[in-house]
Every structure is written in structure tokens, then in C-alpha cells.
């Protein structure tokens, strides 16, 4: 059985998948470039196509607080946000992951102020690395749609019970229309059957208890230990989920954690996340045609971080470039640090370089990608952190 085909945007595809996942409660506050997701969901509820309690809240902090409560009684929940909205949720991100509420969120990756910008980069979600949420990054509209189903299955797995954030590059994915194959509703229902949290602790009138409690020095670490264990177990669950989804639809995402493309014999590999992987993929094909041994490693799961899979895919490379739309000021891109750490743990020491670009929506051209491959094939630049495509016509002041 196969689904129907639609020509649809990333935002619309997410809304459609959420409709099919039938959350009991949706609470969200609109923000560019996520707005279309919550507009469509509001329409679905209004038109009776989705039986869900849609809570119109006054802020992102309230949106996630509301879901904290809803998830606390065992409801399936959804929210979506972006950029400043995600930061405004920051306090509740920790509440919900610490409380082990399997909330699913879509985040439209967008730059952070100042300078004010509605355009895309990944500084919003990467800055929330330690919030205890599983973070998936998707490459295209189909993967965005499919990953909503993955997200519910992963989040609600009894071994995991941890919220999941599905990240789409703002505008580049949220506002781009392309071909989508939908999942028939019966298959969606079977893939993510709603199971009341029967064996879990929840707010229950029949069985009143106090949850989401204080945890002082006597117990706090034990909660944290379990959170860490669940996150590590999620590695396995993400893989199982990708496999099961593949059996159902024929669509897999490299095993769920990373997607390696022509890495086996590659001398140079670029690692990235999100939609940029598509452009790198095209350049890899062009370079391979010219006999240059290059590859792409797409990082799909940033948290949990798949150390083994990353190291395995990079084990033959003599140089690795990490391309990211992020910078941790005073050091380097967050993903670059993670990749270096993984390599060292596995006793690998290829040359590594960090290509920081796409900040505030700056384009990454194919020529930019060629430049990175050429750099790494021919001997790399001295500085480990390179700003890609920086304007040369600006007076940066005396220090530069």
C-alpha cells in the first residue's frame, strides 16, 4: 500500500504528519518561518478534520508549559516554534525533558537576535544542546514529514520517554514546495499507536499522586542518571524506528542516526546537518565523476550524539570538514567540537576543519562546497575555523 503524492512545503508537510499522528493537545504560538504549521493545524481542528484540543496561548513559554501539563495526564502533544520562541521556551525545555514527557516539537531553524533576522541558521536549536531533548535534523520535505512519525515513536518508547525536536531549516525547507509521498492513515495508526502511559507515572484522578517533584541532593543525581541512560538507549530506538519505517514505506534515512554517502573510500568527507546536505550531495557526485574521492556524512541525530556511527563513517578519511550554520563564540561551531571529540575517543586523528557559514540566511553555493573540498584535498587552511563566504568589502576595523 502506498500513499498519495502531493506537491507541498515543509511547513505544510509537518502539519499534515501531525494531523495524522492525532495529538490530543496542541499548544503553539506563531513565529516566522513556522507560522504555516500552526495555521494549518488550527484549520484542521476548526474544520473538524483533527480531533484535538488546540490551545491558543500567549507565548512560547506558555505553549510548552501547557503541554507539560497535558503530557502529564498522558495526552499525546505537539508544538512548533523557531528562534526566539525556542529560547523563550528554554526553561520549559528542561522541565519537560527532566519530567520525561514525550512531547514532539517542530523547530524551524532561524537565526537569533541581535542583529534581528527572520532568516535561517541553526544557532537556535544547537544552543539548546544540553536541554535534554532529542534533536533530529532533516534534509528535505519528505524527511520532515516522515520524521514526525519517527519522533512520536521514539519519544513514546518506554525505554526513552524523552521529548523530541524535529529541526527544519527555516525557509529553505519550511517554505520550499516539493514532491511528497504521504503515509496512508492506517499505516500511520499502526506505526505510532497511542498507548496510554499505563506503566508510567502520570496525573490520574483514580490514583492521585504528586509528580514533577523536588529532587534534592539525596535523589537528584539518580534522576539525571536515568535521563542519560534513556538518551543513550534512544540511539538504539532511533535505529529501530528507521528500520521499521523503512519496512513499511521503503524510505530509510541511513539507519536513523547518520546517513553516509560515498564515504567508504573517501579521502575527504564533509559532515553537515539539515538541508545543506542536499547541496553537498550534488557536489560529491560531481567530484566523484572527476575521480576525486570525496564523501558526505549527514548527521541526522545531534542528541543523542552517535559517536560510533560518526567515527565508523569517518574512519578512512584523511581530512574531515564540519560544515555548520552555527558558531559558539570564543571557540568554534558546536558540531565541530562534538565531531572532534568523537574522533579522539575512537583513536582517529584525521585533519579536521570547521566551515562556519549560512549565518542569518547567507547562501551556501555549490562553489562554496567545492572550495571546502579543494581546501581539504590540497592541504587545509591554517586556522581551524573558517567563515565561509565572508564579505570582503566591509571595513572590519583595525584588529582584522
Amino acid at each position: 500500500m502506498s500513499g498519495e503524492k502531493q506537491f507541498i512545503s515543509g511547513d505544510e508537510a509537518v502539519a499534515l504528519a501531525v494531523k495524522q499522528a492525532k495529538p490530543h493537545v496542541i499548544a503553539a504560538y506563531p513565529i516566522t518561518p513556522q507560522t504555516i504549521v500552526v495555521e494549518r493545524l488550527a484549520d484542521y481542528v476548526e474544520e473538524g478534520e483533527l480531533e484535538s484540543k488546540y490551545m491558543y496561548v500567549e507565548s512560547e513559554h506558555s505553549a510548552l508549559s501547557a503541554l507539560f501539563g497535558a503530557s502529564g495526564v498522558g495526552a499525546r502533544t505537539f508544538t512548533a516554534t523557531s528562534s526566539q520562541g525556542l529560547l523563550y521556551m528554554a526553561e520549559c525545555l528542561h522541565f519537560t525533558s527532566g519530567g520525561r514527557y514525550p512531547i514532539v516539537m517542530m523547530n524551524a531553524n532561524r537565526s537569533l537576535a541581535l542583529p534581528w533576522s527572520i532568516f535561517g541558521d541553526q544557532r537556535d536549536s544547537l544552543s539548546q544542546r544540553d536541554a535534554g531533548w532529542i534533536q533530529l535534523y532533516v534534509e528535505n520535505v519528505q524527511e520532515a514529514y516522515d520524521s514526525i512519525f519517527h519522533a512520536y515513536r521514539i519519544a513514546e518508547d518506554p525505554r526513552v520517554m524523552t521529548p523530541v525536536m524535529v529541526n527544519l531549516d527555516g525557509f529553505i525547507l519550511t517554505h520550499t514546495y516539493e514532491l511528497l509521498e504521504t503515509l496512508p492513515q492506517e499505516q500511520a495508526d499502526a506505526f505510532i499507536p497511542y498507548a496510554d502511559y499505563a506503566n508510567c507515572i502520570k496525573f490520574d484522578e483514580e490514583n492521585p499522586m504528586n509528580i514533577a517533584i523536588t529532587g534534592g541532593p539525596l535523589l537528584n543525581m539518580e534522576f539525571r542518571f536515568q535521563q542519560q541512560r534513556a538518551m543513550n538507549d534512544a540511539l538504539k530506538v532511533i535505529e529501530e524506528t528507521d528500520k521499521a519505517f523503512g519496512e513499511l514505506t521503503g524510505r530509510t534515512y541511513g539507519g536513523g542516526l547518520v546517513e553516509a554517502y560515498r564515504c567508504e573510500d573517501a579521502e575527504v568527507v564533509l559532515l553537515s546537518l539539515g538541508s545543506l546536505c542536499g547541496t553537498i550531495h550534488v557536489v560529491v557526485d560531481e567530484y566523484r565523476k572527476a575521480g576525486k574521492k570525496v564523501g558526505l556524512l549527514k548527521l541526522r541525530s545531534f542528541r543523542p550524539f552517535p559517536v560510533d556511527k560518526v567515527a565508523e563513517a569517518l574512519s578512512g578519511a584523511r581530512a574531515v570538514g564540519v560544515v555548520e550554520k552555527d558558531i559558539s563564540f570564543g571557540y568554534e561551531g558546536a558540531v565541530y567540537s562534538e565531531v572532534n571529540s568523537a574522533l579522539i575517543k575512537k583513536g582517529l586523528c584525521p585533519l579536521t576543519r570547521n566551515y562556519v557559514g549560512g549565518l542569518g540566511g547567507r547562501n551556501f553555493s555549490k562553489e562554496d562546497i567545492c572550495g571546502m573540498f579543494d581546501d581539504l584535498l590540497e592541504g587545509a587552511p591554517a586556522d581551524s575555523v573558517q567563515f565561509v563566504n565572508l564579505r570582503g568589502d566591509i571595513d572590519y576595523g583595525n584588529e582584522c
Binding site: K5, Q6, F7, P33, I118, F119, G120, N140, F171, I172, H175, T176, Y177, E178, L179, S275, L276, G278, T279, H281, V282, G361, N363, F364, S365, K366
Partner: protein, 182 residues
């Protein structure tokens, strides 16, 4: 891969038509397509761009469209440097204008004009030129079948305006074909 750049003003439907073309070829012709607007705030009346990419294979390139095969100008007041730049050699530029193509010289490119505004006023009673300019592009390029464009209109436009837009699409397509001696 063929890349089409649409020039319009906010509110003229430049993105709707980019989407109509993408849907026409990907849902009804077994090709792949990507349609996207120029990203950013939306402002009525401001110059806007939108893009359609079409290929026989899956399209993965997500970088900006730098050089296009076709540029379609919904509003001739937009003709200027923004239209003339970023064109491949031998690109075709289709412009909504009462003037002849000679009035819009672009070196190395074929320019086709059609008075889509008058045709739209005649059929729709409103000067909405996105769908007729799709008809003009189809006539000038053969990039899609009229039939699949009609199917896209059937699913994308509101029922009230579907039939008239399909009529206008065909009318403009014929007008351009006649002009080009096709």
C-alpha cells in the same frame, strides 16, 4: 536541470504560479520540481522573486538560483537590471507588455512579449497575470503540458476562478505561439 525565475510584485501571485508549474510537472509528468519564493518578509507591491526548478532526477541542490534558463516578468515596470542579470546564455525572457520584444533588449537572450494584462481583463475582469504568464512560458518553452498545468489549477486555485483561469492559460499560450510562428 531547468531553472525558472518569476518576477512579480507582492500580491500578483508570482509564488502561486511558481508552485503551479512545479506541481504540474512533478505530479502529472513524472518529473521532479522544487518551487520556492524569495525568502523573507512579504510586502504587497514590493518586487518579489520566486523560482521553479525542474529536472528528470531528484533535485537536491538547495543553493540560491544564480542563473536561470527562463525569466518570466509579470509586470513590465520591473524590467531592469534585476531581470537582465543572472540569465544563462540563450535564456528566454517572457515579459507581460503591450510593446514588442525589441523594446526590451537583452544581449544573448530571446525576448518574448505578450499583453497578458489585456487578456486577463478580458477573461477574468481583473489584471491578474500569473496564470496567463504560465501559458506564455509554456508556449515559449514547452516546459510543461497545458493539460498538466490545467490539472494543477484544478487543485490549487479556488473553484470560483478555475475555469476562467484555464481558459486564460490556453488563450495566452495560443497568442504567444501565434506570435512566435509556432
Amino acid at each position: 536541470m531547468q531553472e525558472i525565475r518569476w518576477h512579480g510584485r507582492g500580491g500578483q501571485g508570482a509564488f502561486t504560479v511558481a508552485r503551479l508549474l512545479g506541481q504540474a510537472v512533478s505530479l502529472y509528468e513524472d518529473k521532479y520540481a522544487m518551487a520556492f519564493p524569495s525568502f523573507g518578509p512579504e510586502r504587497r507591491g514590493a518586487p518579489v522573486l520566486s523560482f521553479t526548478r525542474i529536472d528528470e532526477d531528484v533535485i537536491r541542490d538547495r543553493s540560491d538560483v544564480v542563473e536561470c534558463d527562463y525569466a518570466v516578468v509579470l509586470d513590465e515596470t520591473l524590467f531592469g537590471p534585476a531581470v537582465k542579470k543572472g540569465l544563462k546564455e540563450n535564456a528566454t525572457v517572457v515579459i507581460n507588455s503591450v510593446k514588442d520584444a525589441d523594446a526590451f533588449p537583452i544581449e544573448g537572450c530571446t525576448v518574448v512579449t505578450v499583453d497578458a494584462t489585456s487578456l486577463a481583463l478580458k477573461v477574468l475582469g481583473r489584471a491578474i497575470t500569473n496564470v496567463p504568464m504560465l501559458g506564455a512560458l509554456i508556449a515559449a518553452s514547452g516546459i510543461a503540458d497545458l493539460e498538466s498545468a490545467c490539472k494543477a489549477i484544478d487543485t490549487q486555485l479556488s473553484e470560483r476562478v478555475r475555469e476562467k483561469n484555464k481558459e486564460l492559460l490556453k488563450l495566452t499560450c495560443d497568442a504567444v505561439k501565434e506570435r512566435m510562428g509556432k
